[in-house]
């Protein structure tokens, strides 16, 4: 199943100037691959944050109805943001930091590929 995410070039959603927070815009960048496409991520940030910053909002499709799911709780409680990371499914991307060269794939059901009847 092809992912329907709009992908990297649509928008940049990073917070860059903030009245209270000191946002470090000089954090070293790493490269990760999302469904075959390279995107830049800030070293140490959760996978989910890197995806959002690149306009990617869909993390997985549900098993029975193939409905999209994305960020919901953001703190590792709900599993809506689970993806296939380095070949391992069901990784909660909101609490898993990026690593240079990481391979991230949209999850279909419980795996990478959807099992269609």
């Amino acid at each position: 199943m092809q992912t329907k995410n709009k992908g990297a070039d649509t928008m940049c959603l990073r917070v860059e100037n903030h009245v209270i927070l000191e946002v470090d815009n000089n954090v070293p960048l790493v490269q990760i691959t999302v469904d075959g496409k390279m995107i830049a991520a800030k070293e140490g940030e959760p996978i989910l944050a890197a995806l959002l910053a690149n306009g990617i909002k869909i993390n997985r499709y549900t098993l029975k109805k193939q409905e999209p799911r994305g960020l919901f709780c953001g703190i590792g409680q709900c599993t809506d943001c689970a993806m296939v990371v380095d070949g391992k499914p069901n990784v909660r991307t909101c609490i898993t930091p990026v690593r240079d060269g990481m391979v991230v794939e949209t999850q279909n059901g419980l795996h990478k590929e959807v099992e269609r009847k």
Binding site: K4, R14, R69, L71, G74, I75, Q77, N90, R92
Partner: protein, 382 residues
């Protein structure tokens, strides 16, 4: 098997405060937390806290978090991050799964003389058509993204709920550069503090009282692009013909929180239902000890309140655990705990706080009635 005097689940304000106090008394303390960083939800609280000077009023939550972390470090509190407590077993055995999700995990069992459960709370949801679509999320999730990860969850946000979380997160979304296009509240009155609501009003956010969301409509990828709201009647039912479509790519739901109680449930702690505190909570006494001897609770896991009450309850639990290990003289421990209970009374003041003060009294009284003394034996059901 690893042995510890005190094992604490959760490195938020309650868990850190408990760890600091127990460690100060000389206990060998381990805090376990599933996150990458300690501090719980404190680091997303970038606003200044209320309260008295005893509670560092005027200090931002994130700065209180830094102070707590430093104090924990100075007192030699050990913290395991990226570690999840997956079970509590009779005999105070704590099963911990260590390791990140994408790495090989390891399960370790720890023998704890005392356990303090400070697992916090999770956000409630409101179910409307399309509530599962990407773009619909908890207000806390949106807050985590902007304030911790510095990423916007969307450009145009509809906030559902006008309690303090809804109001504060709306303001913080604007500080992060998001456009809050509507604040929707089913009740006829704003739920949170007037001072927070005034900030939202001054910023010109359209506020829809007696309204609710009836649908989130998706774009071609099924991510949120429009939100349908409608006026509700006195029974909170949508009134046909009052629908209004708002263009938005994010819905943040601020409908309160409920205590995270799985671990205390596993141990068959006595529970009670309390609406003020957000649902089912473990009964506890003034030591913050549950019906199971040696198992303590603190913070939102005992009833949803706020960071300062969590911190104070954590201190009580830490002192009480150390006291029961004979690490603090009874007189000193009682004095310390009394002083904290007095400070907690100050935090539970005013029209919002008084409800929590009396609710806490109900919980403490029910403990005395139903439990009396903590029980050593764990009664397994069935």
């Amino acid at each position: 098997m690893i042995e510890k005097d005190v094992v604490i689940v959760g490195a938020g304000p309650a868990g850190l405060a408990a760890g600091i106090e127990a460690s100060k008394a000389g206990a060998n303390v381990l805090i376990i937390d599933l996150n990458i960083k300690p501090g719980g939800q404190l680091f997303k609280q970038i606003h200044k806290f209320f309260g008295s000077s005893a509670h560092r009023s005027g200090t931002r939550g994130m700065d209180i978090g830094m102070l707590l972390l430093r104090e924990a470090e100075e007192n030699g509190v050990e913290i395991w991050l990226k570690s999840t407590v997956i079970g509590l077993f009779p005999g105070n055995k704590v099963a911990v799964e260590k390791g990140l999700e994408n790495e090989a995990k390891e399960v370790v069992t720890i023998l704890a003389k005392k356990i303090i459960v400070a697992t916090g709370a999770s956000e409630n949801v409101v179910r409307f058509k399309g509530w599962t679509k990407p773009g619909v999320m908890g207000a806390g999730a949106a807050q985590t993204m902007i304030n911790v990860n510095h990423v916007k969850p969307g450009e145009k946000v509809v906030m559902l709920g006008s309690g303090n979380v809804g109001l504060i997160v709306s303001y913080q979304l604007m500080q992060a550069g998001c456009d809050v296009v509507a604040l929707v509240e089913a009740a006829p009155k704003i739920g949170g503090y007037a001072v927070h609501a005034a900030k939202i009003r001054r910023a010109g956010v359209p506020i829809y009282m007696k309204h609710t969301i009836i649908e989130a409509i998706g774009d071609e990828t099924d991510c949120v692009k429009e939100v349908v709201i409608a006026e509700v009647d006195d029974k909170f039912q949508p009134i046909s013909g009052t629908e209004k479509v708002i263009e938005a790519d994010c819905v943040a739901i601020a409908a309160g929180l409920k205590p995270t109680v799985e671990l205390t449930r596993l141990l068959n702690c006595e529970f009670t239902f309390n609406g003020v505190f957000g649902g089912f909570i473990p009964l506890h006494n003034k030591n913050m000890e549950t019906s199971v001897e040696g198992v303590y609770v603190a913070g939102d896991a005992t009833g949803v309140e706020e960071a300062n009450t969590a911190l104070e309850e954590g201190r009580i639990a830490g002192i009480a655990a150390a006291q029961s290990l004979s690490l603090i003289a009874d007189k000193e421990a009682e004095e310390k705990k009394d002083a904290i209970w007095k400070r907690l009374e100050m935090l539970r003041l005013g029209p919002f706080g008084e409800r929590r003060l009396s609710a806490k009294e109900v919980v403490l009284a029910e403990y005395l009635n139903k439990v009396g003394m903590p029980q050593a034996e764990i009664k397994l059901k069935g």
